[in-house]
């Protein structure tokens, strides 16, 4: 079974500063994908960034970047120049598909990020 652990239930950051959200995962599969999703108060789940496990280069999407440490099974999210609109619950997720009906998508419990003005 795979697990995803987010050890920070809540975090806060001042507007324009940088914040890093932590995530560790565990899976026995060699082919997997990692994601960060954002869930604002509207409840809509929005994909922030994704990382294929076979890629060594860390993914980047504008102000969002990840630090993917495959050996340590760590997948942290860095948000630069934080904006008020970044206030949301952030979920780390691991997706594994090894063929047939073996589809597994596991989410962490989330980190509530508050950006203060």
């Amino acid at each position: 079974a795979q697990t995803v652990t987010q050890s920070q239930p809540e975090m806060s950051v001042q507007e324009a500063e940088t914040v890093t959200l932590s995530c560790t995962y565990d899976t026995s599969e060699s082919n997997y994908y990692l994601f960060w999703y954002k869930q604002p108060p509207s409840r809509q789940m929005i994909l922030v960034i994704r990382q294929e496990a076979y890629k060594q280069q860390n993914a980047t999407e504008n102000r969002f970047s990840v630090n993917f440490q495959k050996a340590a099974k760590s997948f942290s999210l860095k948000i630069s120049d934080s904006q008020l609109g970044d206030t949301a619950m952030y979920f780390c997720a691991c997706r594994v598909y090894s063929g047939g009906s073996n589809y597994k998508l596991t989410f962490g419990k989330g980190t509530l990020l508050t950006v203060n003005p």
Partner: protein, 112 residues
């Protein structure tokens, strides 16, 4: 494109009642998914479908049924509702297993 739409947005059920949560996507996606999100938790996969006529169980399928007769629609059926099914339900779709999942706005269900 409307994306992924879900109805209803809110529903209160009595124990033992049944209902169907509707999900429709207009992006011609092959894959569709149903998740539940309990308070303070991440999403858990209930069922998924890789195309019309093909469905499979996720992590927490007990108490639910699905069907996929068309590419667009993926309804989730709750039979004999129980308080443990109180949750927020999300439908999602993706073009294939590699691509991004697009989520609907969710249905908040309370069983009392």
């Amino acid at each position: 494109n409307a994306g992924v739409t879900q109805t209803p947005k809110f529903r209160i059920l009595k124990i033992g009642q049944s209902m169907t949560l509707q999900c429709t996507q207009d992006m011609n996606h092959n894959y569709m998914y149903w998740y539940r999100q309990d308070p303070g938790m991440g999403l858990k996969l209930i069922y998924y479908s890789v195309g019309a006529g093909i469905t499979d169980k996720g992590e927490v399928p007990n108490g639910y049924n699905v069907s996929r007769s068309t590419t667009e629609d993926f309804p989730l059926r709750l039979e004999l509702a129980a308080p443990s099914q109180t949750s927020v339900y999300f439908c999602a779709s993706s073009y294939d297993r590699e691509n991004e999942q697009y989520f609907g706005p969710g249905t908040r269900l309370t069983v009392t």
